[in-house]
Point group: D2
Chain length 258, copies 4
Amino acid sequence: MRLRTKAELKYSFAEPTQIIGLLHAAKSPDQLLLSEVLEVSPDTPVSVDEGLSGDRRFRACLSGEVSVAYQAEVENNARQLLPVAGRQHVWGELPVEVLPYLLPSRFCPSDQFQRFSQREFGAAGDGVARVMAILDWINRHVDYVHGVSTAESTAAHTFTVRAGVCRDFTHLGITLCRALSIPARAVSAYAFELDPPDFHAVMEVYLENDWWLIDTTRLAPVEGLVRIAHGRDAADIAFLTTDKPCQLINQTVQVERL
Amino acid sequence: MRLRTKAELKYSFAEPTQIIGLLHAAKSPDQLLLSEVLEVSPDTPVSVDEGLSGDRRFRACLSGEVSVAYQAEVENNARQLLPVAGRQHVWGELPVEVLPYLLPSRFCPSDQFQRFSQREFGAAGDGVARVMAILDWINRHVDYVHGVSTAESTAAHTFTVRAGVCRDFTHLGITLCRALSIPARAVSAYAFELDPPDFHAVMEVYLENDWWLIDTTRLAPVEGLVRIAHGRDAADIAFLTTDKPCQLINQTVQVERL
Amino acid sequence: MRLRTKAELKYSFAEPTQIIGLLHAAKSPDQLLLSEVLEVSPDTPVSVDEGLSGDRRFRACLSGEVSVAYQAEVENNARQLLPVAGRQHVWGELPVEVLPYLLPSRFCPSDQFQRFSQREFGAAGDGVARVMAILDWINRHVDYVHGVSTAESTAAHTFTVRAGVCRDFTHLGITLCRALSIPARAVSAYAFELDPPDFHAVMEVYLENDWWLIDTTRLAPVEGLVRIAHGRDAADIAFLTTDKPCQLINQTVQVERL
Amino acid sequence: MRLRTKAELKYSFAEPTQIIGLLHAAKSPDQLLLSEVLEVSPDTPVSVDEGLSGDRRFRACLSGEVSVAYQAEVENNARQLLPVAGRQHVWGELPVEVLPYLLPSRFCPSDQFQRFSQREFGAAGDGVARVMAILDWINRHVDYVHGVSTAESTAAHTFTVRAGVCRDFTHLGITLCRALSIPARAVSAYAFELDPPDFHAVMEVYLENDWWLIDTTRLAPVEGLVRIAHGRDAADIAFLTTDKPCQLINQTVQVERL
């Protein structure tokens, strides 16, 4: 699919504020970047980090009312969907850089979920079968509801209250996978046909020597995702991290098919 | 059943420490107190509160190494077991003094469990049928394990990690009942045939105009319980509450049938 | 002070919903009820509990769009302000009915605060001096900010994030007092000169054989409070408790001096 | 200082268990590895990962009663102590690989501590001065006590209960630094003169273009640390991570000066 994505953020910074932004479409094996523009106005020095991973973060120091606009065109035909079958790896087979995604993180306390995951999904075969069982379980037991969770909510909260938004669904999916020794990580994305349009959080699991994108909420087709960044959980992939509180004035996200 | 219960506690108090003790067998409609002795050595002034509820707490200020021994004989033939059927009350029918047991408490955050309880047990009829469904669920999903929980663990923790001891089982049972508008409270007890012998925590639900004792752990027969005190959760019914840390030296609990 | 208070609540109940309401001005030693009217429209059967404590809750089963209006006139000249000095009681001196307010509750985990309270306030004399030190500490360290806390936030959360609203200030004040063996409870109130007008949460401490009202937020004069109900924390004194989610349409609170 | 370190772990694995071990002394700029031996008995295949960072983890699948013994000699004279002054970096100056250590993690919810950190340490100059203020604060306000925390305790718990062990002190130090935009990470170590001998957890802060080791507990001299591994918090640097529960039989750690 060939997609054009646009994000416009307008914030007010009461004092000079350091920011890390994650808005750039990733240059990843499953996504070809055709063109992009990042504009900050008023004009401000911005540095963009290009990591080996293909994720790109930008850094700046912003003050006053600032608009950040990002636009890109990507083509993601190389993206493959989670296969219908596939075994999970024993730890000894995993690449070293995948190992951190077995461990608990800020919003994914997988260390607390071993008994539950083993009991609920332990019998569901292995690899893809278990991931499918987890996705199915989440969709049967958790309601997509705004206002139940906050930016501090962990997967344990979502598991208890049984409601949340995309970020919470993603955290719960990651947590249950990790508790079963399936490496899992969070991915931020622009999502075609997401209604209402917004930034989206999905997850990625490592099986059969590769990472596979999954929308735990089932709200957006994986083929229509424009990936931005990946990390352990929402803390790593926030589209805006700041060193001081700031005020959102306006924000729009758009994705269209070309 | 006619039962004799003995508890001996030995503690060391580094400085004068205020204590509230809950060791006395309750004088309740389901339990006849035949005899009892409380001994504190070295000899110390102790005041015993006799509330309308039949629960009795004692207060003292203790210092140094102190032994507290309590012994009682009770007969509990009037105790009735949870009936096989019975409807739960609408709120309007409940006695005022029962209403607090609908509300969340320190270790029973029932406000977080409404979606789960409704979805899991909402279809299980009403009253006794729901309580039975909750008990069954707990026994299928939670393991009785020492060392997983602490004195700060709430029912949300037990629900997540799926393991705990009698106190945790009781808190989870109470929480799930309250989330379904079934009044539930915690009861401390001496328990015949509990192995190993120890203080026990059970719960009580209000249905059909009465409170019914239930051992959420299924470790001790309800007929063999010598009830001590009831309250919202473990915070209310601790056998020893102190205003300063103190050190346990030794503790034994014994229950025998007469 | 002679005060007239009015509250109008409009809610939508998607299905028949059981409710417990706490809107009535208390008939307490520090408050004389001159007149009152409770109106529910459309007209619905409502039962009002008159407890020994002087707090009154009403119960009903509501459906569809319902307005609840309460109006009262009270005179509170008998209310006494926290004296400038006064010792706290040893546990042995406290009336039995005061003891529960020494214990942790849903939003006030005082069991976790003993080290902090002892270290921070232990040297601040006793009784009133300690309470004043706690109030002063809260006002120096916690910001009054909307949107940081939720209906699930405990005093431990407020203590960490150092921000909250009246309910959070009250919970933190209660928690710190209890951790020092000073009985403390939550009180809901209408508050004269509170800006913007709203229901208010304050606390009450037990010293010198009596309960004393304190506004932990310092936003409303104690002389201008019309007390509604008291309890262990916000769970006990919510102006509306329901057995199902419902939707707030509109709510106004007014207090004027007569 | 030239140090010899020995660790012997004996565990029982009820079924084949995947493990990741972090026992190897790091090959880092501040530490020269002179010799080392890892022995697993009964003999089992073990793979050792050598990352760019100099940390080395080993992986194996263990079953039954297994002993793991590691012994190494290192020389750490190149290690430099935190300088007496030094500025912290603005975000734009930090190497990309340092950025994750600004973010919250499983046991270090720094997102909740911005108000506290700013208020308490914001005025304490910058960089080293702030870190010193944090260390000083921790040592004045937190007690080193066993049994208060568990393997699930976060820095927010330690901040509330004001007690913990080396892992908790480290997590709190990291959390407070990150809340002030000072990159901080956890380091596992063997520690000379730690009494009683055990694995130790310390922290590292990034200032003046380098990482600096700090023992938040002040129990062991930094010159006597043999560093093992670093990560976001204890989840990343556990000396043993397993995919199933296992039982510790015996464990000894020894460090001696050569």
